[in-house]
Symmetry: C2
Subunit: 195 residues, 2 copies
Amino acid sequence: MSDRTTKERILDAAEGLMLEKSFHSVGLTEILEAVKVPKGSFYHHFKSKEQFGVEMLKHYVADATAYKKQLLLSDTPEPDPLKRLLSFCEGTICRVLETKGKCPCLVLKLAAEVADMSEAMREVLAAGNREAIAILEQVLQEGLDKKKIAKTVRPAEAAVIIHDLWNGAMQRSAICRDATPPREALNFIRTLLTP
Amino acid sequence: MSDRTTKERILDAAEGLMLEKSFHSVGLTEILEAVKVPKGSFYHHFKSKEQFGVEMLKHYVADATAYKKQLLLSDTPEPDPLKRLLSFCEGTICRVLETKGKCPCLVLKLAAEVADMSEAMREVLAAGNREAIAILEQVLQEGLDKKKIAKTVRPAEAAVIIHDLWNGAMQRSAICRDATPPREALNFIRTLLTP
DNA sequence: GACAAAATAGACTGATCGGTCTAATGATTC
DNA sequence: GAATCATTAGACCGATCAGTCTATTTTGTC
């Protein structure tokens, strides 16, 4: 048997499939066939597709948040917070290039589709956004403390602007299948923050 | 008979329903029941749900573009391009408040869901984005010519930033069901452009 | 008014949807 | 090894999906 639990295997497979398609266009049968798990197992672990969606988003947001914290908040190997932020953006742009413009973020991919349909899923998405903004605010504050970013920047305000600009750019890049939007956003963010 | 054609009535009803739900979660039967039109009529006018989606998005984008041009590009009653842009944003914020955070834009609502599934729909969305950016660029250029916006602003660059920031903020406002994100975006845009 | 073309009408199809049900199997504890 | 509980297994359910088909009605043209 696999070392990963059945639940985790279902979750992982569904994240991949829904990143490529969408929430409603991926059926349970398709997910379960991909991981060779019968319906009975699914409904043993999850009470409905919606509750499954909630857990999937929670699972994804937890991973994504940990990943962001690691890259943005740890001062090794890069002690400069601004550099950490900019190279995080560059890394994301590389991923977009590799996948030919495909959206790499499940929150961005599913948000508009599911937010109006499930209050529980909406809350998970909202929490994901809040965490992302909080992390951004911390990087900016640290950059300010270390005098690595322009002192005119106010972390709380700048964090939401950078967050929304970045998400808007990622969204547009998924539409035009091109990494230009996040590149333009990155250039703007750089000149905005550089002292 | 209604003065509007059957095709237009279907299109309008579908836009409303899909703004509230999503592309895949709204069935043809639901749309057709809403306008009391039988299946046969639908498939007389459209060859598939996907092609219908393409026409619906084209129809929406054409309307939305005309609306933006009228508010942003006509110098009556407001000759100041910056004021036109800012009050356009304020107007959108009001709509968000009225609808309790619901996404007012069909392009934003459906983009992530359908872009990966239909190349034809993706192209319409991309064209919509390009037109929105072009209009923004024109307002900015005009504002620059009339010395109503900061002369450091470069229209082409600023247009994409404003576009993506605004879309990202609207997206987030649909998730947290709150008009704060576009308000923060508007504040930022105002200080960015004001001379 | 005859004819043709466009549009309306809705019953019907096979496939697939999310979800249920009962039975068989795996593991755990006494 | 008997009893228990979690898990696996997959046939099955009614509902709904996009799409088809054959009529009938409406409309425009001569």
